[in-house]
């Protein structure tokens, strides 16, 4: 079970300062909660690039391929024969390829978002406070029991409004 220390901050610079100190001391795994995306946290945490783009690319390519395939297969299997005209023709079928590229690409993007954000989530798990969707920032440090005190000290020194241990 996750065990750690949660700091609740009202000021963004205090929260960033605590993150920098926690990272320097390598206290544990840090999770930041913020009511809105802030580039300050990106600078403080330096997270890797989101892999959602891979889902988008794979979904879009699959959708475009399926769009061409379904229209060509449908036309060949149920041919509407008009003299002088090809049964399958790629120009109008690009419309199906495009629409399905957008549809499947868009839905895959959402799937990527959900998978990597771990939503839907049935429980809020430890380390969350309802104030984090309001006007407070949260820094949750998941760490070993022997380092909890150190985490608490860092969070308090940075100016946390409230610090509490959770598990």
């Amino acid at each position: 079970m996750a065990q750690g220390m949660l700091g609740v901050f009202l000021e963004i610079d205090s929260a960033c300062e605590s993150i920098a100190a926690l990272r320097k001391q390598n206290v544990g795994k840090i999770t930041v909660f913020t009511p809105t995306p802030r580039h300050e946290f990106d600078h403080a945490l330096q997270p890797p690039k989101s892999p959602v783009r891979i889902y988008t690319l794979v979904g879009a390519l699959s959708g475009a391929t399926f769009g061409y395939w379904v229209s060509i297969w449908g036309s060949n299997y149920w041919p509407i024969i008009v003299g002088g005209k090809a049964i399958s023709t790629w120009i109008p079928y690009t419309i199906f390829a495009f629409e399905l590229m957008v549809l499947i690409g868009g839905l895959s993007t959402v799937a990527g978002l959900f998978i990597h954000s771990r939503v839907p989530r049935l429980t809020m798990t430890v380390g969350y406070d309802p104030r984090f969707s309001g006007s407070h920032y949260g820094v949750w440090v998941e760490c070993l029991p022997e380092r909890l005190k150190e985490a608490e000290t860092i969070l308090r020194q940075a100016g946390a409004e409230e610090v509490r241990g959770e598990q």
Binding site: S14, S50, V52, G74, I95, L100, L103, G106, S117, S133
Partner: protein
């Protein structure tokens, strides 16, 4: 996401030259996150005015439903169709509502990619409008077919009914385009709503409502990890929606331009329809947002700078549409095709003169008033103008569809068209249906995106907190 705050600027809401709504100038009266939560969540409380409007919408919907039931009972003949004009009010209204939907995606996706700061406080409203407008539009092919229980015949899947899917038909393209558009618009709206639903969940005191909001928020926690993936997903959805919005109305225009009907068979239709759709959508955005801004006391969110920037977009699209009207006449003259020339003469000076002049006045002439900065910043005028735009754009679709069918190549094909009370009842019902959903939406979910507004509000820092404690502003 869209913009970054510029703390320390001298904010005010006066006219700017050049008059571009920049992030730092957007919300001078919004000071902190708590204010955003408090004021936007306050809009969710039902009021008498809201209830009255909802009842009015449901009454209109009832009239529409009664008219439709009468039509189903009596047959499609009561709808005013007479050969060769077999596309009338229902197809006009279908194209009208599809067009309305376009401004939502324009504001939420295209302006997001262009980092246009003024979209922040109006995009949620426009996105919801898109979803409900496309839902409304989707009813019309079903109403138009006369036997709605056979609506599944519209779906192009292989079957044993001797109806083979024709993948070269624009009507089949339309099914794919509009289904995709509805799905992506709903997805885009819902993804944008997730953080705001989480905010409502955390602020909710009623345990049953809290439980429902918890389910609807999917357990969103506002973690940095979630935001990182959210920002990327939102960007890609916007990138997909941008060409999608252009494709959907292009495909709708192909329903006409692929046909050998005078006035329809023209290559200008795709850009002409797209520009018209965005223009009509902007009209409906103003029709909706101006009363919301006033009755919910959100003038400091939907500021005059926001109205001004949107009005410029409306003016621009009006001029594109106006240009398309002129080009149509030019090509009819320059092309030298007699049937085309007679069709356009008949449109403006013949039997459809009233519709054409309503269209030209509402869509080309009245919007020119927006060259005046004073009028661009006048919500009353913008609201009145938006009503004219809605009327003008409905008549634009009338002018495209009916005169073409009523004045084809041979004189024996020339005819008239007179909509009946059933047509108008269903048209009224469509407005009732649209506004009913919209009114229900605005009392259940935030009409302004809380998380995105917070993004442009300067965050609290130790320095700013010390300044406030010292008595600063």
């Amino acid at each position: 996401m869209a913009t970054l705050a510029e703390p320390g600027l001298d904010h005010n809401d006066g006219p700017k030259r050049p008059n571009i709504a920049r992030a730092g100038l957007q919300l001078p009266a919004v000071k902190d996150y708590a204010q955003v939560d408090r004021e936007i969540i306050a809009t969710l409380r039902p009021t008498k005015a809201w209830f009255t409007l909802l009842m009015a919408s449901i009454t209109c919907l009832g009239i529409g439903a009664a008219s439709w039931i009468y039509q189903i009972y009596s047959g499609l003949g009561v709808a005013g169709y007479s050969p060769p004009v077999m596309w009338g009010v229902y197809i006009i209204t279908f194209v009208f509502w599809i067009g309305i939907g376009h401004a939502g995606t324009l504001i939420s996706a295209i302006l997001y990619l262009f980092r246009a700061g003024f979209r922040t406080t109006i995009y949620r409203c426009a996105e919801a409008m898109t979803v409900f407008a496309v839902m409304t539009a989707g009813l019309f092919p079903i109403i138009h077919i006369g036997r709605p229980w056979k609506f599944f015949w519209l779906i192009p899947y292989p079957n044993w009914r001797l109806l083979w899917p024709n993948f070269k038909s624009p009507l089949v393209w339309d099914v794919f385009a509009i289904s995709t558009y509805l799905t992506i618009s709903v997805t885009f709206l819902f993804i944008g709503l997730l953080p705001d639903i989480a905010t409502l969940r955390d602020a909710e005191k009623n345990p049953i409502k809290k439980q429902m909001l918890s389910l609807l928020s999917f357990g969103w926690r506002n973690s940095e990890n979630e935001w990182r993936h959210f920002a990327r997903a939102y960007l890609f959805l916007a990138a997909f929606s941008t060409p999608l919005v252009l494709s959907v109305h292009s495909v709708v225009s192909f329903d006409f331009s692929m046909a050998l009907v005078p006035g329809w068979h023209t290559t200008i239709f795709a850009p002409y329809f797209v520009a018209g759709a965005i223009f009509s959508g902007m009209g409906m955005v103003y029709t909706i947002i101006i009363p919301i801004r006033k009755f919910f006391k959100l003038e400091h969110y939907v500021t005059l700078n926001v109205m001004d920037a949107g009005a410029k977009l409306t003016l621009f699209t009006s001029m594109v549409v106006g240009c398309a009207y002129i080009v149509e006449f030019f090509i009819a003259w320059y092309g030298g095709v007699k049937v085309e020339q007679e069709y356009f003469y008949n449109r403006v000076f013949g039997q459809w003169w009233y519709a054409a002049w309503i269209m030209l006045t509402c869509n080309m002439i009245l919007p020119l008033s927006l060259f005046s900065q004073k009028l661009r910043r006048n919500p009353t005028w913008l609201f009145i103008l938006s009503l004219f735009i809605n009327i003008g754009m409905w008549f634009e679709r009338f002018v495209i569809i009916v005169p073409g069918l009523s004045h084809e190549f041979e004189p024996w094909q020339w005819s008239g068209y007179r909509p009946t009370w059933v047509d108008f009842g269903i048209l009224l019902g469509s407005f009732g249906w649209f506004f009913m959903w919209f009114l229900l939406f605005i009392k259940q979910l935030p009409v302004i995106a809380i998380a995105e507004v917070k993004e442009i509000v300067p965050p609290r820092t130790r320095k700013s907190a010390a300044h406030v404690h010292a008595g600063g502003h």
